[in-house]
Symmetry: C2
Subunit: 253 residues, 2 copies
DNA sequence: ACCTGAACACCGTTCAAGT
DNA sequence: ACCTGAACACCGTTCAAGT
């Protein structure tokens, strides 16, 4: 099975949109794309992405490993489908929110971070196991477009807002998880003492003091080491940048 | 070999700073951390990250696979070391640039994207094979701090700028590579026709028209599909956000 | 058309042994 | 202390065969 359809569209995109025909004739057909993806996500949720092997996914469904290959060209395709399925935004009663486009932007950003934080395995997926044209990525973009509608921006500007929003949210989640898992967690005074032998004021005049005080990559006990404050600032800069642009656009000259 | 030192510092960090003692006594010692990392990077540059196996790295150095494990606790540690070694910023004559902090910020962002674009395998590294305290990450932060020095910001604000800068640059490189490799490259009118059957104006009233015209995930022939314009906008929003903050700080009240 | 079973060509990593 | 050689416990994926 090739991982492209007869067209330029990746097979995973076609499957996600339900465009990959799975004919009804023949034996049992106990399996389906949906069931396979669902089972894989359950395993990732429970035991992490490394636990998602073709064997284990199949086993959890009561089928042979090889039966999966009738539905999926390779493991990467399955991962791409998992990524999209896990990206489903929460239902909202009214959209965009009446508080204004800034609130809409902010809510979308927060919803993205909640998705990633609930499923950190999503940020462990290989870079290429994602596609722009998947249903839930489109849904995100559509909601963002709706929130931005009252603004006097051209298409490219709107697209830029959406991409920056997504990049910021994902990037800071990644950073947050890295910091939580890596060095920072178990830092103590002794470690900092040790690091300060190489991170000297001579070599890092501006940064060395911050490392010592814990302001840079600091430990949780110093009140740093979480990065959500920096994310909110970035979001605010994005929003005020858009405000400025909108003001220019509506009063030209 | 454990992947932590006796302290909370990850072994990879200690190695990168030259704090992991490799005693001189004993047989040949033909190997070193530097040579191993260098060899691994050469392989990644030539044949991609997937080609970097312990066997191939060792082989390219003329040693047994297992000899590597005397220097590196596991493959992940090697990947972390590769990440940092490949993150070396270009030498600059004068820093920060005399044109002002905005130019400094911009130059740093561009330098980051050039590093990633030259070595796309860096963006394929698993999320956890990165550490904040590695030498070249520190060097980046130090340069950014130097560029920001004239500004009346507090420490947390400066840190926020640096993190947003890094997140933006990396995120857009990732996006750019995804778009180049994935669906977009080989899109034609027929594909769009096919997609427009599921991406309908009913379900995606604002986005569907953009997909048809190629403004969203468009093909190169329509002039879209590259994302550097959106990155520059984000960078500009970041910069004007900082300008605004700085103006507030210097004229309080 | 759907699923199975056996086999292949890899991985990273262990362990005990050599010098 | 440094390196080797053989072995282990996995992977994803192929292929030919069953129903």
């Amino acid at each position: 099975m090739d991982d492209r359809t007869e067209h330029g569209i990746p097979r995973a995109v076609a499957i996600a949109w339900g465009m990959a025909e799975t004919p009804q004739r023949g034996p049992r057909r106990g399996l389906s794309h949906e069931r396979i993806v669902e089972a894989a996500i359950e395993i990732a949720d429970a035991d992490g992405l490394a636990a998602v092997t073709m064997q284990r996914v199949a086993e959890s469904l009561g089928f042979t490993t090889m039966s999966l290959y009738r539905y999926v060209a390779n493991k990467g395709e399955l991962l791409t489908l998992m990524q999209d399925a896990a990206s489903k935004l929460p239902k909202v009663d009214t959209w965009p929110p009446p508080e204004g486009w800034q609130e809409g932007i902010r809510q979308l950003a927060i919803q993205l971070t909640e998705i990633y934080r609930a499923r950190t395995w999503m940020l462990e997926l290989p870079r290429y196991e994602r596609a722009v044209l998947m249903p839930n990525a489109m849904e995100f973009a559509e909601r963002a477009m709706a929130a931005l509608e009252p603004l006097p921006l051209d298409t490219e500007q709107r697209v830029a807002v959406i991409l920056n929003l997504a990049v910021l949210a994902e990037g800071f989640c990644r950073l947050e998880i890295n910091l939580a898992e890596e060095e920072v967690t178990e830092f103590d005074a002794h470690d900092i003492q040790l690091l300060s032998e190489v991170i000297t004021p001579e070599r890092f005049p501006l940064l060395a003091p911050l490392v010592v005080t814990g302001s840079w990559a600091g430990s949780p006990e110093t009140g740093h080491g979480h990065v959500s404050g920096e994310f909110e600032r970035g979001l605010q800069w994005l929003i005020s940048g858009i405000e400025q642009l909108a003001a220019q656009a509506s009063s030209p000259g």
